[in-house]
Amino acid sequence: MSLSAAASNRLHACHDCDLLVNLAGLSVNSRAKCPRCGALLAHKKFDSINRTLALSLTALLLFIPAATLPVMTIKLLGHANANTMLNGVVQLLNSGSWWMAFMVAFCSLIVPLLLLLLLFTTCLFSRFYLFPKIQIVLLKSHHHLKHWGMLDVYMLSLLVAIIKMKDLGDLQMGTGLYAFIVLMLLMVYAQQQFDSHECWDRLEGRSA
């Protein structure tokens, strides 16, 4: 293959069908789709790093109230009981369903928290061109973990639980629920704003 250096810099292969596509001249806020299979090859976002930094930091702060404050309280025949995201896992662990407790903790607490920390540190380091070796580890970890963060699914399951339980007793929404809703929205938005390609390009010392 005889390709000029400039062209090969912007040559990309589709991750879904392996077609070689030239991505030269892709402007900010535009998407490139594979002409053969329609996969989204690149989506250059405006000010991606700064936005991801702001969003992930806010989400990290919200994680504390969302995980520890009561999400809902149920009152039944004079007894009241509240649940938080954390004690849901503890309860499952106590009842012996350790595998399920692990899965719930992994997908709804551990991975989302790790992902937010990764987004924040990656963008922080990338912003100021710090610690390239660590950036590689962070970006690789993000690539492997991103499929396992499921806050949006958790949100829907809270909704189903609310509808299921509203006939059983007096159900009250807690502060944790509102913190969680905002956290979930911020998490989805931060993930959507994050552009790993830009971080990799900056790491190579190439202007994005």
């Binding site: 040559l11 990309h12 292969a13 595998w99 499929h147 399951s157 190579e204």
Partner: protein, 208 residues
Amino acid sequence: MKTAINAGLALCHCCHKLQRLVKASPGERACCIRCGSGLHARLPNSIMLTWGYTLAGFIMMIPANFYPIMTVVYLGRGEPDTIMSGVMHLAQAGMYPIAILVFVASIAVPLIKLLGLTLLLLAVQRHWKLSARQCTLMYRIIEFIGRWSMLDLFMISVLVTLVDLGSIATITAGPGASAFATVVVLTILAALSFDPRLIWDREAPRND
């Protein structure tokens, strides 16, 4: 239409860097020049791994659907619910939207995922003449919907802590829930280990 594999190039699975694939000498593996992950033109052992996870998923569907996933004890009476009987109870109580949601997330989605992956694997292995574009679309849908199966598990973890009112009402998780968690993990792993580029490989030299 030229593909990366024909041009002797490979896309890193992790950081998506397109680079020349140098044949590694025996005993050493090719590595990505940017992130250091193992470099392959196609995911290694993709078909075998996907078959393994898919078949394991089919097997785990049996305990997941026949063992109870949770037990609701209300004022001393109650019986264990399997996934299907839980859906029936919701439908009998007139909560049709929620019944449909739970049915789709817990029964339809895992089954469609496993059947879809089986179809893709057979299409690739048996060289079936299926539209590659539609197969890729199906793969993308399978990859996207997989995580939503966790809905039921998160809901159980919410209910278990919320409804913990001693002798009045308690909800406990059953063995079916752990089996179901395994099904979800296996289907996600199966989708991740399948390489969609295999679908396109057999129709590569079309417009060339």
